[in-house]
Amino acid sequence: MSKRIYLDHSSTTYILDEVYDEMIKYLKTFFGNPSSFHSFGREVRKTVEESRERVADVISAEPREIYFTGGGTEADNTAIKGIAYANQSKGNHIITSKIEHHAVLHTCEYLEKKGFRITYLPVDKYGTIDIDALRDTITDKTILISIMHVNNEVGTIQPIEEIGKIAREHNIYFHTDAIQSFGKLPIDVNKMNIDLLSASSHKIYGPKGSGALYIRKGVRIEPLIHGGHHEMNKRAGTENVPGIIGFGKASEIAKKDMENNAYKGIGELRDYLQKGITEKIADVFVNGHPEKRIPVILNVCFKYIEGESIILKLDGKGIAASSGSACTSGDLEPSHVLFAMGVDTALAQGTVRFSLGKKNTKEEMDEVLSVLPGLIENLREMSPFSAEFEFPREAGPRVKHKH
């Protein structure tokens, strides 16, 4: 097989060489416990704190507002459960959206069982939440609004500055899952009135199992993990030092990339791929907002065929993409995001997400564009459906959709 092509960066990225080089020192030479007082500990503590500054810098936060976690899922859990349990005396109502990642949705479903009331805001056909619906659902019992910055399946960017403003006006905490946007889109937690923000290292060329939660100073949460006094009593456990160092380095590089407008070039590649696919292949539908969409994601429905079969065929050609999101393909359920956007369920079964990264090239896009039409045609030949034999109109009732 010739060189493989990776177009699944929103699932995870490789580690950059500079990140790896930094990390390896903390696996080999500097092994001390950052909580220790001796020199072995102190030299590690110093770099952990530098990493905290680097992460904070990406979102214009103060270093002491950054708490390292074991990844994005933990950051989401800590934020939502942490605010919920710390504010039970004030209220029990949480507002989120129908298109959040399962790390948020399943946490909210868990809290529902514990007596909290959750509102799942609808979205329009582009996957943008309804700001008026948000205003209308706020009650004096609302303690938290949790809306993601960028959706991981379709890439739509939410109006988080507006949401932050509304939250602040009503004195409600605002959490945003920024795992797909951190280090890729400009974020200023102060301008955007964000109180809590989740970030993850392995989406920005850092190591897996490493992330952070930003908590605005003065905001109290109930910690998820109890133990020692690590992370200012908010996340016990001896630090994952190489993970933190790697995340710090990856954050520093991501910030420089943003300053150098690196994502403009990636966006142009994405648009080139989109144009090629929509021109060369009939009956394709691009999902997500036409403009307010992160430049790395292209989500497309190929009508009359099923997504996994497309992924398998692409994989056979050495091209890695995903159908919706990694966990969606394990679920077999068509995507809850596309469902919330009103995409026909049969059509949603034929979804592929291409997500681009820093090292993708135009040649790679050309390679995809040269193999994809044939492979789609091949699968369509196999399908009983076509313009002559359409999907059933009301293809069947969708009983309550499980998130």
């Binding site: 996994e308 079969s309 369920t345 459906f385 293809a395």
Partner: protein
Amino acid sequence: MNYSEKVMEHFNNPRNMGEIPDADGVGLVGNPVCGDMMKIFIKVNKDTEVIEDIKFKTFGCGAAIASSSMVTELIKDKGMTIDDALKITNKNVIEELDGLPPVKKHCSVLAEEGLQSAIEDYKKKKQKNG
């Protein structure tokens, strides 16, 4: 999730894919909303009730396509009568494919049902035509 080599082989080189325009029986099972739908066409010898030709068209994942391909291969060129064909179960399909991931077992059930549905259609048409 991992597919066996046999599944991948059938997915990449499906046997008996296509339609039989003047089929004696057509089975249509599944629902695109749930992610798979299978159409099975059979040509039956009216005197011997032997299935002389079988083809499929499938909307679905790798396992659904491989299961359709396998069920047609189990019938084709074996001189199997409709009664013998009705004895084929999803377990046979799974075994012949060297296994399917647990979440994909339903694809083999669909293949069994597709075949049965095509045979039922043949029987119904035969009754109607006397």
